[in-house]
Symmetry: D2
């Protein structure tokens, strides 16, 4: 955040011109008492729980594979998180109904970015992002884990229409 | 993260050339069973809990004011978080003893950045950051909260030596 | 638990002969990665989060009042928890779909017991209980909170048919 | 809780006449912002996190074995929780310094009870309890887990003096 930061411009850019036409997974949650802090708003770490689960559900919706079967289905150890970030634009309160819209913003060779937009009543409240890798055990040395090439047919499942 | 991302270079830069000579607050934690996920490593949202608490403790250590007395002591409503981020470089396991080193990386007029470096056995495992604002209620309209100028004597407490 | 404890008998008693014919609120959840511990099962404290939210939702479903409006609607400060307990009969795993059935097991003058039964595929996995009070501020001394008589028309909303 | 429940009598009994003279493990925590709910007090599920960790630390202090080495050191899969309970006598606030006193209240053949007393400024605030089992994999059928006899020399480590 700089002193001249204008969230409205950023939001308009996010919503109007997604850089990749990708499948968007939506889910709705009602904010619970135990997710809020003494200010009566969602404690920041809870959003990172929401994002993690939304990513698993986005993969489930795109690939048709349940989260707990992802690893064995694709011969990976999972999709470890290497970077997480959130920009808190408006407080989210106890009892608010939020919508989380999640999509893969970019696939690279062995890593990808997920974007999570949390809205309340149509207004953007939190903008989150995750970078994850497609990771497998080294065949020669099973104690080592490394990023591997994401199969093109997996990427294809995240495209629109 | 890009495909050519080299964490070693970034870490060296972080540790060797801090942009501001500021007070660093350290604390040690032993990773608990309930903080770990089925992969046996700390679940990502827990680090954001650690960062939040370390920021409160950094302010306590620098200003000599307990977290729950910060708001009334300085006539603010607190130091709301507007941005949080973490870069996960190495997994942190159940039973690991971590050191969290926290400092204000930059003060601006009404906002500031906190840097949190999590190390295990001297190696950087997670690099976190928060951007917060110094916030007060609007005198004319107490329902509104806005960022206000951080008093220079508060900033002075975070300088070295 | 004693060495001769037989959960099957207890469960049969619970399911077949509820002591009070009260409204039962059901909800389904899919267990998330971040809710599980290194053994791959739900970490115990998460069930107490589930119970808390189910109680709020049971009150919402019975009274038609949203959780965040409960206090002001009824002139109370809320329904503080004075006792919580859980009996873990079977592990609940990542990806499991659970049903939580919640009901008021007993209303007393100013306190009440809620029972929460967590089942997976029809089998009882966790049996939880909460004791809460109907609490208001003292009119003479607003810093004091005490249990007050639960209005009969509120209790009536929790009866069957 | 009944209407005539008198916590003062119960507390006096707990503190004055422990039924077993066992090693008591103490630790102190300062309540964090993110552990509190909109009422400004510790959210109930957090106490069950505290209890779980205190149990691991009690075992560490008594046996000299780190939590993450307990399973392999003793040939068990761990000490699974079969029952947890807490009685909330006084609210615990943001910034409060709590003391958690934990001890094994009773060892049985293959299960045991742990008692956790949370005090603030010397006053009992929460009284918690856990029942756990000493559990191992079945030698004939490694998918099955069952409670096994607790070795007497392990129990001996929890005695006083």
């Amino acid at each position: 955040m700089t002193e001249n930061y204008d969230p409205a411009i950023q939001i308009a850019q996010k919503l109007e011109s997604p850089s990749v036409a990708s499948f968007v997974y939506h889910r709705q949650l009602t904010i619970e008492w135990g997710q809020c802090d003494p200010a009566g708003i969602v404690f920041n770490s809870r959003f990172f729980e929401f994002f993690d689960t939304s990513t698993w559900m986005l993969f489930d919706a795109s690939l048709g594979v349940k989260p707990h079967q992802l690893a064995e289905t694709f011969g990976v150890i999972g999709i470890p998180l290497v970077d997480a970030r959130a920009n808190f634009l408006k407080p989210v309160n106890f009892g608010d109904i939020i919508d989380i819209a999640s999509r893969v913003a970019e696939f690279r060779r062995s890593s990808f970015d997920i974007e999570h937009l949390v809205t309340v009543g149509g207004e953007l409240a939190v903008e989150g992002g995750e970078t994850r890798v497609w990771a497998a055990r080294d065949k020669a040395n099973p104690d080592k884990i490394h990023a591997v090439t994401i199969p093109p047919d997996i990427i294809a499942h995240f495209s629109h229409g």
